[in-house]
């Protein structure tokens, strides 16, 4: 159906950091911009009712933290992200290889 975008890969400091010993990989999944996100819109509505008029948009997604043995294999992680963690028909995925 929709064009499948390859997972975006971020290295170094751009990803969220966790105190840890084993290498961790963070995968963020969000609905593609053209797919409407009623959950995000419900959050936006709640923010408006709480008086946070400055927030003009909310997209809700998923955040996965993977503990990985040894050196993370980027190709394998990309496959995991694109074939299981995200549905490329409706979702974009971003890998954060923040190192150990």
């Amino acid at each position: 159906m929709l064009e499948s975008n390859p997972a975006r890969v971020c290295r170094g400091g751009s990803g969220p950091r966790y105190p840890h010993r084993v290498p961790r990989v963070v995968v963020d999944v969000v609905l593609k911009p053209e797919i409407s996100d009623p959950q995000g819109q419900a959050v936006l509505g709640a923010l408006g009712r709480l008086g946070h008029a400055g927030v003009t948009g909310v997209r809700q997604g998923k955040h996965f933290v993977l503990d990985v043995e040894g050196t993370p294999d980027e190709a394998e992680l990309r496959e995991i992200a694109e074939t299981l963690l995200a549905n490329p028909v409706i979702e974009d995925v971003e890998l954060h290889l923040s190192g150990s």
């Binding site: 159906m1 797919i35 009623p38 963690l85």
Partner: protein, 223 residues
């Protein structure tokens, strides 16, 4: 004719699906999702429910179970497969049907009797109907909104792969009122509404749903 009905952890409507198969005159073969081998069956039904609690995405984990890999292989070789509700989600996640099903636009679970317009009466699962016929069967879902890009939906409609469309109101915000679609060869059909809940006067709003199950049996007889 032997029709397999798959049970996943969290399936709810496998018993109703099996009952519908029997009422239509078929022999039911109960199947378990973790089995690696698909026994000798002529068709497979993937029932509704909440396989794996809808974790990750509805149908995502079920679509990657051992039995489903065998079902995908057999379906690509022409075996008829019907996915109802969660079963439709599984078929999309498994790549047997295009598109995806996601959260209803109004965020509510919707449970009601639903009119459907039959647009394809020549698939393995809809040959008992007449093209243009309206049927009424229950619909019940929280993540039943069928989505795809405009270009992909245009292609889908151009290829005539919309099998049933919501009539008299769209229960979940599905693009273009699409309730069910088919594979290019017309052998795999998925739909969000529940024909297996409309097979007896006592418990259903109609007996309109029985046609899905008689279709596949008649297809086997005439083949």
């Amino acid at each position: 004719m032997r029709i397999g009905v798959v049970t996943f952890p969290g399936s709810l409507d496998d018993v109703d699906a099996a009952r519908a198969v029997r009422l239509a005159g078929g022999e039911v073969v109960p199947l378990w999702h973790a089995d690696a081998e698909l026994p000798a069956v002529d068709a497979v039904v993937l029932p509704g429910g909440f396989s794996y609690g809808d974790y990750l995405r509805a149908g995502a984990i079920a679509a990657r179970q051992p039995l489903m890999r065998a079902v995908v292989d057999r379906a690509r070789a022409g075996m008829p497969v019907l996915g109802i509700c969660n079963g439709f989600q599984v078929l999309c996640e498994a790549g047997l049907l295009p598109g995806a099903l996601t959260r209803n636009s109004h965020l509510h679970f919707r449970n009601r009797d639903q009119a459907l317009l039959v647009e394809r009466a020549d698939t393995a699962w809809t040959s008992s109907y007449a093209q243009g016929q309206t049927i009424v069967v229950p619909v019940k879902n929280g993540e039943g909104r069928y989505v795809g890009s405009d270009a992909d939906l245009d292609r889908l409609e151009g290829d005539g792969r919309v099998v049933v469309r919501y009539a008299g109101g769209n229960p979940n915000g599905s693009s273009r009122d699409i309730a069910g679609v088919t594979s290019a060869d017309g052998r795999v059909v998925g739909l969000m509404p529940h024909p297996e809940h409309a097979v007896e006067e006592l418990t259903g709003p109609s007996v309109d749903g029985l046609g899905f199950f008689t279709s596949v049996l008649q297809g086997a007889l005439s083949a």
